[in-house]
Amino acid sequence: MTALSALIRRDIRIALRVGGGALIGVLFFLTVVVLMPFAIGPDLALLSRLGPAILWLGALLASLLTLDRLFMADHEDGSLDLITMSRTPLELACAAKALAHWLAAGLPLIVATPVLGLLLNLDMVATAAVALTLLAGTPALTFTGMIGAALAVTLHRGGLLMAVLVLPLSIPVLIFGVAASQAVIVGPMTFGAPFSILCALSLVSLVVGPFAAAASLRHGLD
């Protein structure tokens, strides 16, 4: 347990310091959302209708962008080999790393959501709904994306290939995240049903992600 908490603390500290790049995700999120009105037009009514979708897409892309480095930096300096060979089960170590990544790179996205909601003319309730769905849904993105990050590090290929592999797997999260946010804003259905499914997706990915990533690391690193 102490090993895992030490791993989490170390990863967060690295991510927040110079060269860690956790906060670049937030900057990317902001930039994507600011770009949208230039493509759609400054029509506030339209923007508020599309708001949840824009915020979700931005958060999805931002969390994918930062995932690239989840294992790569550790692989480069050799600490990934130590983690793989240590007595802590690799599945748990992967889960701890993903959790640390989510705390450092995922939570800031959710904190930034209210500000971006203002830009998109979302009212208080809608912004809260989007932030809540992001809070429930982004762990699923991180834990699913971790599989792609593990594949990327064993193949020495990151970037585009990883995005192509992981993006189709994140479609369910996107569907239910946007649906739950829209349910609050326009109805007609209840918020509970899609939100519960979103939580279920996060829980499933919490189980599947570490095992798949650990399998990929165990078979792929030599």
């Binding site: 599989i147 593990a150 797997l169 569907i175």
Partner: protein, 260 residues
């Protein structure tokens, strides 16, 4: 003859060389029967002659999912049993599966044009097949991204199994998304409601296409084994050339300069 006997690629090659002609012949005969029957199937009272697209479309759609199942079993073989032919099977199946998925999409959209008045509809089934196609392409990109086949095999096996878990979830969520956005379903075709004059040709075509897949898959696996042999021979030759020329590099370099 068990599965482990086939672990020897030479034995596998010998066996498939004997089996493949029979399989190919059975495929051709069944395809001929199926195509004949579907050509003479009666027109649908609503859809007219366009219903004949179904006899091509449905087997393709069925195989698009079946091939992912085959690849998942092969991936288990790679990761769990380390069967030497499992990754060959997985790699050979991916482009074939992608081709069947593409044909299912293509015939579906050609069928949709006269029936729905549009080539593309964000219908639940079409959308999930499109995502399946994207996943096939991603898997093929993964195979092509790495030059060491065994390293690529294990990564692809993990991804295939994750895909096998995720595909039902994606299918379910796309269905849900679709009912949210389009309450009126465009197409209804109950399996049991299908008349016998349609059902029999459809079944024959489904078996014929499955045989076609098995034939193509075995042939592609043979090609992949031979390709790997060629690759290792080339690498052996390259290393031999490198070793033998290491001593006389000076001389050959001056020769090249002289020739130029």
């Amino acid at each position: 003859m068990t599965l482990i006997d086939l672990a020897n690629p030479t034995r596998f090659l010998a066996l498939t060389a004997r089996v493949l002609p029979w399989l190919a012949a059975a495929t051709v005969i069944l395809l001929a029967i199926g195509l004949y029957q579907s050509a003479y199937a009666p027109d649908d009272y609503q859809q007219g002659a366009t219903v004949k697209i179904m006899f091509i479309h449905v087997p393709n759609a069925w195989l698009s999912m079946f091939v992912w199942g085959v690849m998942s079993i092969a991936s288990l073989g790679t990761l769990v049993w380390r069967h030497p032919l499992a990754d060959v099977a997985a790699k050979a199946a991916a482009p074939i599966g992608a081709a069947f998925t593409f044909l299912a999409l293509l015939t579906g959209s050609l069928w949709g044009r006269p029936m729905w008045g549009t080539y593309w509809e964000w219908d639940a089934r079409l959308t999930s097949v499109l995502i399946l196609f994207l996943m096939y392409l991603g898997l093929m990109a993964l195979w092509r991204a790495v030059d060491d086949p065994s390293r690529a095999a294990r990564a692809a096996a993990v991804l295939t199994l994750v895909g096998a878990i995720n595909l039902p979830i994606i299918k379910f969520s796309v269905d849900w998304w679709n009912t949210l956005h389009q309450p009126a379903s465009v197409m209804r075709m109950g399996g049991s409601a299908l008349d016998k004059s349609f059902l029999i040709p459809l079944l024959v075509m489904a078996i014929a296409f499955t045989l076609l897949f098995v034939t193509l898959h075995l042939a592609a696996m043979r090609n992949e084994i031979l390709r790997r042999r060629v690759r290792s021979l080339q690498m052996m030759q390259a290393s031999r050339v490198a070793f033998s020329s290491a001593g006389s590099r000076e001389g050959s370099a001056s020769n090249e300069v002289g020739a130029a």
